[in-house]
Point group: C2
Chain length 240, copies 2
């Protein structure tokens, strides 16, 4: 399996090219699972923890299961990969999230309003006048935050919904995918989603940085796009 | 890693002890992922396909992601592990399920009403008088079934809800976890969930069979419990 070693080398080069610029790395486990590259993901996570200990390591896994199985998924994320936080799916309810939330010193990032075109299909269904994604946000603020460190996922492609979530959850962090390749607008995201200190957002760009350049200079190009993205975020944060 | 080889050996012994009794095997990927045993899961899936080609291989993964990532999860289930079907989570909407549904000759089993105590928290929220889990069932019947082979997950612990789902989805199959260790009642499940031919249910027992006996005779005990479970299901099917 020569291919999986190339994945590891590529990721480490991206990490070294951007590690001084970012607040978090968010490896997507599906890319490794599809290629049988779990060992390489373990190595990448260990590399991040060793060389960039101040950068938050988020495992993007979107797990959702119950009872003992949920505990095993929490173990996968927090023990096997040593992630600081993991993404999870709320459909199965609070008891399915508890093994993640109850793990000390780890973060649980719950899907709220996802960035895809079809996310309104179920997430926007109204119950007592409240869409499901806001019910999830309210449950996070009222219940999950009291169990452990909790954040929410809201896509950059839905700034109006992002603003609604922010009004409900106070100063809780929000992970925002969907800028870059998916077309979300940074200025709109920051305006809608920042907390009262102009903080509280983890704005994620994956493909626009990873695949900024397909030549041998990909790492330099990734760094350039990461700097541009960081600067654009910080400019937006400074807008009153 | 001596432990992971023991997992593979244990599972193969359970498979050989029950392969002539069952309609499906449903490995839960979390148990392998937590222990770094993906290679062993690959071997187990290959073993099932080789020796029990008429038994449906369901990968219980409960994946849910978007776009290219969803395609990679479908690849993980259907190509890497060679599963005939996989469980998925509907929270992200139809577009997130399409890579699974659109894979030819493969089954997509969507979470509808899960077996855990807290499953009503979001799944029973009413929108226009219809709980979310029935909205999922209706979408399966109206949309997903037209894209590909689709089934639903409804827990044995909720027979009244199972009956409601059956009225909506006609002859679509339903995967029913929650008998055995979780306490669901087989007679109630069959009465509530069977289709008009007294078929259409995949009733799953995991821990009650796997851990029927912790001694060296575990495989014999697993077979005994599997026979009892099968017979109890068939008796219930024959009740008018």
């Amino acid at each position: 399996r020569g291919g999986v070693q190339e994945i590891e080398t590529f990721c480490k080069q991206i990490i070294d090219a951007t590690g001084d610029l970012v607040c978090a790395f968010k490896p997507q486990i599906a890319y490794f699972a599809a290629h049988g590259a779990e060992k390489q993901l373990e190595n990448i996570c260990a590399y991040i923890r060793l060389h960039y200990p101040d950068v938050v390591l988020i495992l993007d896994a979107k797990r959702g299961d119950i009872g003992d199985t949920a505990k095993l998924y929490a173990r996968e994320a927090f023990v096997r990969y040593g992630a600081d936080a993991a993404t999870v799916n709320p459909y199965l309810g609070t008891d399915s999230l508890e093994p993640f939330l109850a793990t000390p010193d780890k973060g649980t990032i719950v899907l709220c309003r996802t960035s895809n075109a079809g996310s309104s299909e179920f997430q926007s269904l109204l119950s007592d006048g409240e869409p499901l994604y806001l019910r999830v946000a309210r449950t996070a603020a009222e219940t999950w935050r009291a169990i452990g460190e909790c954040a929410l996922v809201v896509g950059a492609t839905y700034p109006a919904e992002l603003a609604m979530v922010r009004t409900i959850i106070g100063e809780m962090p929000i992970l925002v995918p969907g800028i870059g390749a998916q077309g979300g607008d940074i200025a709109a995201v920051v305006k809608a989603g920042r907390d009262t200190n102009s903080r509280g957002l983890i704005i994620n760009s994956s493909r626009a940085i990873l695949y900024a350049d397909s030549s041998k200079s990909f790492a330099d190009s990734a760094r350039k796009v990461a700097i541009e993205t960081r600067d654009e975020i910080n400019r937006a944060r400074n807008v009153q």
